[in-house]
Symmetry: C2
Subunit: 243 residues, 2 copies
DNA sequence: ATTTTTCAGTACGCGAGCGAACAAATGTAT
DNA sequence: ATACATTTGTTCGCTCGCGTACTGAAAAAT
């Protein structure tokens, strides 16, 4: 079903996979495989960033938490990108909280090493910048989406994004967790998810969601999914994994 | 009241002003002053980007427009930054629509020239990257804010951001226009604005808003304003113009 | 001066989603 | 097996903001 067991780890990350062999060879030594586990907090606001992460499985969420305890997801990173753009953008501390949304693995690199490599300005820099651009579009679209679209479409979109990045149709997620990401009530997610399940689009049970029909899920999603997806494919080339 | 008439134009833009003289001298020849007028569309999605803009007065909005005609602002650029980061991030076409929100002036530069200058990797690159970081935080915060905060707080925040970037307490804005930016009904803005006016915080009449009491406006704003503001000051140094 | 256009005030019914709460089901620990 | 904790189903009243529509006022055009 999945192919990444047969390949070297870095091939599962789109940025690393896109590197010319020579360049990759140089700093592969600096890449350290780590597990990322559910709910793990990778960055805390205002704390120094020690590492950046290239996920190979699983996803990381960028979260905005408010004084009253509410929190909303602003962006999502999976095997299509890198987590920690702030490092080469010139910040030593993290601006926002980042937590692991779907457990998995990542290759991590020390922040100072990344800065060095970025400065060399080769293909790697190019890739990181292009990814940054796609990431910005993702967040911008989310900003508008959060304002304009009802919960059903947003849930569908969010599940699609998860599946893209997780590289699997089996997602370990509770309604509660999804609610935090979408910035809504848990009950709201339950209702929306129930509709999708009734139509045979997803199936879930206690902390686990299976995407059964991606096609239909796309039809229920708001237009934001495709907008962002197109931008990612355009900037990072190829179609990622086509589901 | 304002000081920018006495200074060279570029001093009114925080990025340009922060450049070392040598570096600025090199490409000042490429900077062309242009007027930006209300409602003018600077970028259209998917169209090639020919110029980037360093506003000296006035502001530009990054807008997301949906199929149903709804639109929401995702970010705002004024004299604190540059408009067109996508250019050095590696995109030839604009990802999102950009329209002039408050009329004014900007120094513009050809996209290919900017790319060249960026590649030199000197202080200029540094500044642009740091600005990008701040910009990302702005959008991310907006994403969360749009989901979590009621209209009153958002309006206050938005006015503060305008004032910061416009460098003036006199803003030429209609409720209708603000509504498009905030992604709400015009009537909703009218109601929220009326409250602020009743408390003597702002005054408005037919397409014109005056900020009377910035302090109180801050108190009515959601926490998002300060969050983003701090990040800008931290990354771009100084306090911008302190109101 | 008069007409036309643009902008703001305001009201009404309505729906999405909120907060809160409780019940039921499904895992997990003992 | 039993007790416990977590996850989901579901409901209720309520609030915010929506869509719509109409009014009056201010400015611009004639």
């Amino acid at each position: 079903m999945s192919t990444h067991e047969d390949l070297p780890l870095h091939a599962s990350n789109r940025i690393l996979a896109a590197l010319p062999p020579a360049e990759y060879a140089r700093f592969s030594a600096y890449l350290e495989p780590v597990e990322i586990s559910l709910g793990e907090v990778l960055y805390r606001p205002d704390e120094p960033i020690t590492h950046v992460y290239f996920p190979t499985r699983g996803t990381v969420s960028i979260i905005c938490t408010f004084e009253d305890g509410k929190s909303v997801e602003a962006g999502m990173v999976g095997n299509e990108g890198m987590f920690g753009v702030s490092v080469f953008l010139g910040s030593v501390t993290a601006p926002l909280e980042a937590i692991v949304q779907l457990p998995g693995e990542a290759l991590r690199m020390r922040a100072d090493v990344l800065r060095e490599e970025f400065k060399r300005g080769e293909h790697f820099q190019d890739l990181l910048l292009r990814y940054t651009q796609a990431f910005i579009v993702q967040i911008a679209q989310t900003a508008a989406c959060n304002r304009a679209h009802p919960i059903d479409g947003r849930l569908a979109r969010w599940l699609l994004m998860c599946q893209d990045r997780a590289g699997s149709a089996e997602l370990q997620l509770t309604h509660e967790f999804i609610a935090v990401m979408l910035g809504t009530r848990r009950a709201g997610v339950s209702e929306a998810a129930a509709k999708l399940q009734d139509e045979g689009i997803i199936r879930y049970r206690r902390g686990h969601v299976s995407v059964l029909d991606r096609q239909k899920l796309g039809a229920h999603s708001c237009e934001c999914y495709l907008n962002v997806r197109r931008e990612f494919d355009r900037l990072l080339g190829g179609n990622g994994h086509v589901w």
